[in-house]
């Protein structure tokens, strides 16, 4: 059986890719995808640790609630993106700079 670290490394990689997406992608929806990746990375860690906790399964419970929150977050975030699109006619984050001095 392979060790816990394998999972952790996969989680870390997923997390870092998520961060890169958030930093580099200009489309708000793709950024949201990055956020989902980060949440998934955290879940992998939780589940991996939960393997050694067969009685209580706290990690899996936590992961379950993370998924719930992620679903809610995705719904609200997409609603906001739709509003932004209605108002600015774009979802490119670097175009949303009304506060910047022109």
């Amino acid at each position: 059986m392979f060790s816990l670290e394998h999972f952790l490394v996969v989680g870390a990689a997923l997390f870092c890719i998520g961060v890169v997406i958030i930093i580099t992608k200009r489309n708000a929806i793709v950024v949201l995808m990055g956020i989902e990746l980060i949440l998934n990375a955290a879940n992998i860690n939780l589940v991996a640790f939960s393997r050694y906790d067969a009685n209580v399964l706290q990690g899996q419970m936590f992961a379950l609630f993370v998924i719930v929150v992620a679903a809610a977050e995705a719904a609200v975030a997409l609603a906001i993106v739709l509003r932004v699109y209605q108002y600015y006619q774009t979802v490119h984050l670097d175009k949303l700079d009304e506060l910047k001095e022109k």
């Binding site: 392979f2 992608k25 793709v30 995808m33 067969a54 419970m61 719930v68 929150v69 809610a72 609200v76």
Partner: protein
């Protein structure tokens, strides 16, 4: 290499590849499908880790819900009528550097910390208390006993999010 190991590596590779696909592709719809691969890979990793219920939940919520929502979002916010929906990016070099540095940091941290030798984990392994069968019953019992309050709160949260999302998106 045992079968499980092969499966693990295969799906880990699928997950990472999917994620990298989102970074590298220039088409948003490809990004969405790469995300699908990643979600499936993660679900498979859950199965390998013994979390069968979570794998099912992952597929149902992420693939069935969140991803569909994303694709709808893409379609509703694009002006072009072409097949090609660009996914432009910036800060490329700095972003890549930051990601690599972060990963390096995590990697060294994981290696140095040696989580596998934590006392409670080694104990669990010695007494073979690791997850070895379906956790659905356990999670079900947990949800109805110790976690019943968070469970209810999660329900309320979802309802609030639903109403909020409908309100925000639908307001004229």
């Amino acid at each position: 290499m045992s079968v499980t190991e092969i499966i693990f590596y295969a799906f880990a590779a699928l997950t990472i590849a999917g994620a990298l696909g989102i970074v590298l592709t220039k088409n948003i719809l490809y990004a969405a499908f790469s995300l699908l691969l990643t979600f499936l890979g993660v679900a498979a990793l859950y199965v390998v880790a013994g979390a069968d219920l979570l794998a099912v939940v992952q597929i149902m919520i992420y693939v069935g819900g969140v991803l569909v929502l994303m694709i709808f979002g893409v379609m509703l916010t694009s002006k072009t009528t072409d097949k090609y929906l660009p996914s432009p990016s910036h800060n490329r070099i700095a972003g890549a550097l930051a990601g690599l540095a972060l990963f390096g940091l995590f990697f060294t941290a994981i290696l140095k910390a040696s989580f596998s030798t934590l006392p409670w984990i080694t104990q669990a392994e010695q007494h073979s208390r690791t997850v070895s069968e379906s956790t659905i019953a356990g999670i079900g019992i947990n949800l109805m006993t110790d976690f019943v309050l968070p469970f209810e709160i999660a329900g309320i949260l979802l309802m609030v999010a639903l109403i909020g999302a409908a309100y925000i998106a639908g307001r004229k």
